[in-house]
Point group: C2
Chain length 238, copies 2
Amino acid sequence: MDPQADYPPFAVTVDLVVLTVRADQLSVLLVRRAIPPHRGAWALPGGFVHADEKLADAAARELAEETGLTGPVGHLEQLATYGDPGRDPRGRVVTVAHLALLPDLPTPVAGTDADSAEWQPVDRVRTDRLAFDHARILADGVERARAKLEYTPLATAFCPPEFTVAQLRTVYETVWGTRLDPRNFHRKVTGTPGFVTAVGRATEGDRGRPAQLFRRGLATLLYPPMLRPTTPHGRDLR
Amino acid sequence: MDPQADYPPFAVTVDLVVLTVRADQLSVLLVRRAIPPHRGAWALPGGFVHADEKLADAAARELAEETGLTGPVGHLEQLATYGDPGRDPRGRVVTVAHLALLPDLPTPVAGTDADSAEWQPVDRVRTDRLAFDHARILADGVERARAKLEYTPLATAFCPPEFTVAQLRTVYETVWGTRLDPRNFHRKVTGTPGFVTAVGRATEGDRGRPAQLFRRGLATLLYPPMLRPTTPHGRDLR
DNA sequence: GAAATAGTGTCTCTCAGACAGTATTTC
DNA sequence: GAAATACTGTCTGAGAGACACTATTTC
């Protein structure tokens, strides 16, 4: 493809909004950039798409490089694409942002372009200091995650393979920043077809009555959806 | 940006899924390609992003070129990005697809790269003959539109500035391919805060009692959402 | 036993769906 | 008047929210 007036050359990257729930905080994986531009600043993990690589594969590769994850753990989806001229001082760079939801993992590994990588609670991120337009991307990713918990079973992506209803409730409470009635939540989750399936075993050794263990179910959409309290979803007018 | 192993050059395009409701059919704007590749095949309108142009501006420019629209009519949003290697024989081309919803318009204008442009009912498009991966993009766009009618007031983007409840109902029925009870629909639309606001005038000259005219309201999300009948949203398991 | 957590049952209110009935126009 | 479309009212059933109550564990 010739770089001409109508066919200007672009670089294409993938950036990742990797979210997890740890210590009752919705947290995002950030790396400290070891190379310019924005050297020393915190940024979303990401990198250039290779010459013969699908976008989704590039995102999965970057995720594996940063977290060590290989298998089908958690959830990875395309978020949105950001390509304003000037968003990267190196030239015209379009980034296809992806959203990953993962269970709580060991401390992440620093990649090749990063000094260090760490989980930061999303409401404590200094968004005004993030590299590039990553503050915007992070905000969009968090909003997408919050919305998708309502009508998909993606909350289970934040959980280990087997989990209790209380663990799942903690995910909702943490991501949404709300409190949910444990009794109504239990009835809702177990009564929504395909959301979770009982393993048949229970936890042991905790305080209180042991809880049934569940795995994620087969549904890809929840009907009826989980409803977010106090902020009844779309009341953004007036 | 040097084209190297890690920084391979890409071309970036925008493609448009432009939908409208006309003659009780959900229809998409397609162009017949006048230049290779896929010369003579039907395709989504689109084109290369210019060197100093935002992605959204490129989409708006292409939309204006194809439809003649300039002002803030209808709705335009980013859909998703498609970038598999080999999706375009000219080289590595990533396309940022956008979704546009418009009221019924006069016959479209052919652009510079197209012999002709026309509205085709989406369920009569020969998807196996569309250029590139446009069948997939079209399917994703239609699905996005169907889903968004549920929880946003975007159905109004298919209507002229002033419309009746029956016109709005026809949009839902056409896009969803279902029948809705006119009485319950009326109660729901007028009772959902911010969905529509009454103009104060009524239609004249039709058969039957004149209908109140409405404009779109201020809400960006509908609460409670419109519910799609017979396919209760997420019952895709079992 | 007390404390803690898991899980069930019951009441009420809201709202979607069904559909009778009324209002206002054209023919 | 009949036919057509616009709109209102009423009933019923499903489900969300509130919360009393029972069950099973650790201490």
